[in-house]
């Protein structure tokens, strides 16, 4: 929004003529939230494909016992880079991308609060990611052979110390993530400030779309939880470069301290990743059920509750480190309590569908996939929260299955739903429904075939992060089934990419508001102009477009 803080004393620049070079100029130098949002999403999709291919290699390696498809070090690097990439280079930026594109449109403003900071955030995330991947070439220093980090995505000390991780590979992990962290922080501050200060007239907090609410709380969590990660990374960097002793167990340092610090970030991080999924689902389900969200205050309250409780549950990742029984019980209790607001959200989504007229278009299908898989993920999360059960499950394949249910089965499904839902806004064209339905069903089948067996492998004692296993431990069949699911997912993802290309080049334009939706982004053109709205809209309820479409029965009559 072009509110000027200072008197203008320079002539206003006119935009240049269109050409290829200006096109390049417009993307690289852009500070437009929509272009940055698109670039965020595109680059995280690229990283998603890269990390997905690593997962494929790992699944091939584990398909049969005693496999020699890759060497142990290669495998260890792959799961480290897979996890790090998926969390920091896919999950975090894709949420920044969605928020960047949609938050200003949904609250009826022209841009983010700090457009240049926004651009800086994107570029430093991208360069940080590239620096991390440069480790494959330069991990041993420029002259040495390259190696990527191989310490796992949560990089437990003292494995990351100089004594056990020689060369520079762990340094790449620290520096790359430190940089992307700066980017995430920049975009989080931007989203918070934008939501608090730039809402259009009439858009009270009570009327703000749930998507914006959740992105706002997500940003708050980033703001509180990410600096601790940076702090402990700085400590580790000092250990490795300055000879400090933070995590040096030989000098009396504590190996568990890193875990406390890391998980103080790491657990809110799980919610940081899943909130955007909630955000997409909370917009899509009402529109496709033709009803307002059920229990809206409870929805917001639940996210707020999660946002606060999630800062007090971190040690449930550490039930096996030998804390006292009292600490274990405390963290088990806080973890179990967080299941309640999560459950409320799930019930409210079902409540929204109840009594509606549910249109089973592709975005809605993905949200329904989200519902069932998130239900399963939440329940396995409760199992992990029961400290005693966690002694068996922690660090087993059950955990791998559980968090892939959260991050793929829930988050990725919701994001796919979001992409199908908002693609017409970004491009003016609806993604092909037939291809979309193939994508959904193949992906849902492939996903479940891959990740359900992991839970059983965990029950049978399979630890995570092993590059191979001996025969006869009862794990062969589950691993084989898991691997069989992978090609199905690959085909599904290829269909999605094909769908985007096909739609972009072949499909017809569908107009500004193809889903008959209710939030402000559908009131402008598809794609929106640089300035979003010719005139800043005014709203009187949480569904401004409903009010206009149904003047005989507007929301503002009933909302508080």
């Amino acid at each position: 929004m072009a509110t000027l803080d200072y008197p203008l004393d320079r002539p206003i620049r006119r935009p240049r003529e269109w050409s290829l070079s200006t096109l390049f100029y417009e993307w690289v130098a852009t500070v437009d939230h929509k272009r940055l949002g698109i670039m965020y999403v595109m680059s995280s999709i690229v990283f998603l494909v890269v990390a997905g291919l690593m997962a494929t290699v790992m699944r091939i390696q584990l398909a049969i016992p005693n496999n020699h498809f890759v060497a142990p070090d290669t495998f260890n690097r792959m799961f480290t880079m897979h996890g790090t990439t998926m969390v920091f280079l896919v999950g975090m930026p894709i949420l920044a991308g969605f928020a960047n594109y949609l938050v200003p449109l949904m609250i009826g403003t022209r841009d983010m609060a700090f457009p240049r900071l926004n651009a800086f955030g994107f570029w430093i995330f991208l360069f940080g990611g590239l620096l991390l991947y440069f480790s494959y070439l330069g991990g041993g220093g420029l002259s040495g052979a390259g190696t990527a980090p191989d310490v796992g995505w949560f990089a437990y000390s003292p494995l990351t110390g100089r004594a056990f991780s020689r060369g520079a590979s762990t340094d790449y992990w620290i520096l790359g993530i430190l940089l992307t962290g700066v980017g995430s922080l920049a975009s989080a501050i931007n989203i918070i400030v934008t939501t608090l200060t730039m809402r259009c007239p009439g858009m009270t907090l009570a009327r703000m779309p749930l998507f914006v609410w959740m992105m706002f709380l997500d940003s708050y969590l980033i703001l509180v939880a990410l600096p601790p990660l940076s702090a402990c990374q700085i400590m580790l960097l000092a250990d490795r470069f300055l000879g400090a002793r933070f995590f040096d167990t030989q000098m009396g340092g504590s190996a568990v301290l890193w875990q406390h610090f890391f998980w103080f970030f790491g657990h809110p991080e799980v919610y940081i990743l899943i909130f955007p999924g909630f955000a997409c689902v909370s917009e899509i389900i009402p529109v496709f059920s033709r009803k307002p969200i059920f229990g809206r205050p409870a929805m917001v309250g639940a996210v707020v509750a999660i946002g606060f409780i999630s800062l007090g549950v971190w040690a449930h990742h550490m039930f096996t480190v030998g804390m006292t029984s009292l600490s274990n019980t405390f963290f088990a209790a806080s973890t179990l309590i967080i299941a309640i607001p999560t459950g409320i959200k799930l019930f409210n989504w079902i409540g929204t569908m109840w009594g509606g007229r549910i249109r089973l278009a592709t975005p809605m299908l993905f949200c329904l996939g989200f519902l069932f898989q998130f239900l399963a993920a939440g329940l396995t999360g409760v199992m992990l929260g029961v400290a005693s059960f966690d002694w068996q499950l922690s660090d087993s394949y059950f955990v791998v299955g559980h968090f892939h249910f959260v991050l793929v089965g829930a988050l990725l499904f919701a994001l796919f739903g979001g992409m199908y839902y908002w693609f017409p806004k970004v491009s003016g064209k609806c993604l092909n429904e037939t291809l979309g339905k193939w994508h959904f069903w193949l992906f849902a089948i492939g996903f479940n075939v891959t990740f359900i067996p992991m839970h059983f492998a965990g029950f049978l004692g399979m630890p995570r992060r092993i590059y191979t296993y001996e025969a006869g431990r009862g794990w062969e069949i589950w691993n084989l089934i898991s691997t069989i699911g992978v090609p199905i997912q690959i085909i599904a993802t290829a269909l999605f990419v094909a769908n985007i290309l096909w739609t972009y080049f072949k499909e017809k334009e569908v107009g500004d508001d193809p889903w008959d939706a209710w939030t402000l982004e559908w009131a402008t053109t598809s794609p929106p102009p640089v300035y979003n709205f010719e005139a800043i809209p005014e709203v009187r309820s949480s569904r401004p477009l409903w009010d206009l479409k149904h003047p005989e029965d507007p929301d503002w009559k009933y909302e508080r």
């Binding site: 000027l4 457009p115 240049r116 102009p529 005139a535």
Partner: protein, 302 residues
């Protein structure tokens, strides 16, 4: 574009200096990208060569200057002309769909259901009364069968206190402050929660709610407990006296259900504006929907 049928007044909400022709937007800038690149090189030098850091510093420094010049003394903007009118968004049209109403009635089709409930305090009161009745019955059982009112309390506390499961019969009959505390907190919380559940769910059942609350629910609950008690509280499971257990449950159900059913239903306030519910009237809000009479009902017991 305007969301209202009425012509908009963009100058009121800061649309820029040229409302009819275009908008001023923040000017594009390479410097954030260059800055990010410089910072990356600065850190990348740590793992490659210090010369990379120096280059990164110089680049970042130049970018900082460029960025600085762009926002000081004022943020640079560029003028973006409005699109041609026919490229703009169509005004939002009135939907051809009619909106179905709940059968509750024309004017109140957005209320939440059920419209009348017991006050929430009735749930708490009922839960506490039921819990007390249950506790008295259980202690009575302890006194009659084992000669000690502490016996059932210790058994209940064994659900969270593993040391009690190794205790002898004599020890179970004795007063144990920790066990009393654990049992009271546990029993109290569960009683209040169940009472609350009664209060909100009873109005949803058609008729004979006290029957549901007093008899069927405790019986159902007893069955559930019987099925899972081995896992929840093994000690209690070993020593439980089922007839007495069911009697205690019925005591809770009848007393709690009676206390709740005795209170009057209250009108929910959900279709009132927030300002009324909060007790402050504020300007610019629609008047409250008046379900029965002209005045908003007095504050209910929430």
């Amino acid at each position: 574009m305007s969301l209202d049928a009425e012509p908009s007044k963009p100058e009121q909400h800061g649309a820029g200096a040229h409302p009819d022709e275009g908008v001023e937007m923040p000017a594009s800038s390479f410097w954030p990208m260059v800055m990010a690149f410089g910072v990356t090189l600065m850190l990348g030098g740590l793992v490659t060569h210090y010369a990379v850091s120096i280059a990164g510093f110089l680049i970042a420094f130049r970018a900082a200057y460029g960025w600085w010049r762009q926002v000081i003394p004022h943020e640079e903007h560029e003028f973006v002309p409005h699109r041609h009118p026919y490229e703009r968004a169509d005004p939002v049209r009135v939907s051809i769909r009619s909106v179905a109403n709940l059968k509750a009635g024309e004017s109140r089709h957005r209320v939440r259901i059920p419209e009348e409930i017991h006050p929430y305090s009735a749930g708490v009161k009922g839960g506490l009364a039921g819990g007390l009745a249950m506790a008295i019955l259980a202690c009575l059982y302890g006194q009659i069968a084992h000669g000690s009112i502490w016996y059932p309390i210790n058994l209940l506390a064994a659900g969270v206190m593993p040391e009690l499961s190794r205790a002898s019969d004599v020890a179970l009959n004795q007063f144990n402050a920790k066990a009393l505390m654990a049992a009271t907190v546990g029993h109290g919380c569960i009683s209040i929660l169940v009472g609350m559940l009664y209060a909100v769910t009873l109005p949803m059942f058609p008729k004979r709610a006290p029957l549901w609350a007093g008899i069927l629910a405790p019986v159902f609950w007893s069955g559930l407990v019987a099925a899972s008690l081995e896992l929840i509280n093994p000690l209690l499971n070993q020593r439980i006296n089922w007839p007495w257990f069911v009697v205690c449950q019925l005591g809770f159900g009848l007393v709690g259900g009676f206390v709740i059913a005795r209170t009057h239903h209250i009108e929910t306030m959900q279709n009132w504006p927030f300002a009324y519910r909060a007790g402050v009237e504020s300007m610019g809000l629609p008047p409250p929907i008046k379900p029965n009479d002209g005045q908003p009902p007095p504050h209910g017991d929430r």
